[in-house]
Amino acid sequence: MDLATFAQFALSGLTTGCVYALVAIGFVLCANVSGIVNFAQGEYVMVGGIVTAGLASLAVPLPVAILVAVFLGGVFGFLQERVTVAPVRRAPMFLQATVALGVAVVIQSAALIVWGKDPYGLSGFVGDDVFVLLGAYLPLQALFVWGATAAFVGAAFYLLKFTELGRAIRAVAINPGAATMMGIKTGRMSMLVFAASGAAGALAGVVIVPITSASWDSGLEFGVKGFTGAIIGGFHSPFWATAAALGLGVLESLAAGYVSSEAKDIVTYGVLLAYLMIRGGAFLRGRRVVASTGGH
């Protein structure tokens, strides 16, 4: 096998995998801390991308556009939690999930009304030049994608592992009842996690938009793929979710490169279906704690 070709596919896959990873972390954090599978997670990627590109097309300076986009992602996440998550905290899981799906539709349709049907593109932050790595030609923008993902993931891990706040968040994830009794404000943690997930999704959208462009309906795909990463990673650990999502990005790109570009989506969705069927069927006979959710 030609190394340069392989690197070309794998490294472009890693770049899209970064977006899936940021979405997957959002899924895992929201599910474990708030007990809700946030089906609107992918829409934040769309919001980040379309707002940045949209504002840039209105001649707003790029750094301002980026800040506004990430900030909006955080604000939307926060609003989603306050308006549609907190009121149904005790409702059955299917209902919470349906509400989140409704929110996704609202965000999507709002973007359609504001920005229209056509996709928005954007040139790379430092131009559209390429660089060579292991024989693969990659857009300079990929460095921003990797950098932003590494920065966010690093910050999230530091926060969760080594700070008081991170311990509080993890405590809520493990046992919300006990955490409340220890004086941790679970509602506040939930808000925080949703805002952070929204911002993470938007950040992913911001850095990827020069590569993929953004349109009102591009969030769905990121949502399903981030979810796939999260579920293969076990839905409990942000670390494994990140790893699985990156792997998925690479796998998908290899399939697209070596098989056909049509194979790309089939591979991801097929992986998701097959994984779930195997998890549910083959290895889980009899009595086992079949947990794959942060539901409490």
Binding site: V37, F39, F94, V290
Partner: protein, 601 residues
Amino acid sequence: MIALPQAPRRRLGAWRMSNTVFGGFVILVLFYPWVLRSDYALGAAITVGTMAIATVGFVLLIGYAHQLAIGQAVFCTIGGYGSALLTSRAHWDPLPAMLAAMIGAMAVAYLIGRPILRLRGFVLAMASLALQLIVGFVAIQWESFTGGAIGIDGVPKFAILGWMVDSDIQFFYLVWALVALTVLIGLNIDRSRIGRELKAIAGSERAAASVGINLASLKVQMFVLSAGTASVGGSLLVHYLRVMEPNAFGFQYSLNIITAVVIGGLSSIWGGVLGAGIIVGLREALRLTSAPLLEGIVMGALTVAVLLLFPNGVAGAVARLYRARLPAPPSHSPQAGAEYPAEPVTVNPDQAYLAVDGATRRFGNLVAVDDVGFTVACASITALIGPNGAGKTTLFNMISGDQPLDGGRIVFAGERIDRLAAHEVARRGIARTFQNLELFENLTLVENVMCGQARHLRSGIGAILAMLPRVRREEATARDAAERALEFVGLGGQGARAPGTLSFGHQRLAEMARALALEPSLVLLDEPASGLNDTETEELADLILRIRARGITVLLVEHDVRLVMGLADHVVVMNYGKKIAEGPPALVREDPEVLRAYLGA
């Protein structure tokens, strides 16, 4: 108390109401084309009807089985392509083509639902979406077979056994007759044991498993059924439009199905019909006011708003208005002094009935249950005691199937049960109660207890859908048994009440009745005296003795040492996960290690 031995068994008001509603519905359908004489109204009604067939099935999935499927329209796609291909390419008759497509859709649902619905919670939602995306993708790519993006045209008109459904009015009646059939199927399920058991699962999954209800299998049944109805809806719409193209039932249609059911009312079969009407009406209204861009945001916002504000939708609101005017249903009270179960359990009293051997359970570094072994004799009362955190409840949950074992084995009546799931353990005749009461709040008392009969009911979904007479007989028998069980624990005649209206002590008794309705040979009682006052505790002790007198073996976890010492034949003492003593109460009481554990020395 006035005895009403011949009182009707059903909740009369609810039964009559749903018959009236159904009658009204039939009349409405019959006269619709003659009142609204316009092609537009007829076409809209056909569109509503094809969607309603899918949404009524979806109510069973989301409202009853509590499973969200984001990609439900994939089954409409399967139905649509199935009918289109089989009729226009293979020249099948439309009816067998529709049925074949339906069977295909149901088979797909079974294939993915059976493994996936064993997983917890929300995974079906995304799995169904993944399936929809894959099928949509294949439909576009596989041009030679599906006609690609253009689709298949020239789909013939519908025909039944050679009789062509020619006019739109005929097709309207055909579609709405099938809507009525779907509604009947739904109502039938709602009234059957399946409806009751699904409501029990919604109330408490744990308690439902503890009475032997197979959660995963019921969810799969509802998923398969909903896939079948979606497929039929898809087939019919394709025969109406005469073409099938890949976007006919895309993601948007899936969302419409979800929104329709949410607005119409998740918890009512009629919610599916109402919702389909509302959604199609809304969509047409937005189209006529030339605001089609608003469709998405209106649908999404309505979904969110209805779920947050009126989670039972339009049908729920209507039903509440009606129910408020109904008198409380009369309760049936059987002859006093019923013994339950009527036939005492007979087992060999010398045989060790339950044998726990080397049972171990670890949580991380903590060994919650450490190599514990003991046996429980037939028709005895055995008590498991120990200080807080001794591992009693964990061990208890290992026996009942709620917790896996990390080592050791549990044998019941000669069969290993330590690998069985909770509902399988229950089906072998081990019943349990819960320390923190897990009654099904959404069912009446007698329905709660009837759920305990699950393992004795033989009629499956086929018999229920076919409305076989034996289903009704079986229900009557189960209701009788439940009422006798209530009588036995001292709650005779209270069957029509909601569990929440009972005192704490009586709720505890109701849980005992539900456990007894399994007609078990072993009951596990988890701290039955906690939260009871002295009188209630005495009554409880008396009841436990009466249970044993029926030949039923009792194993209880208890804090109230006084109760245990007066009641138990055999006591097992645990501390820090280990068994520290075992024997008759008098001996255990003197055991120095037990004294140390309790007094802390």
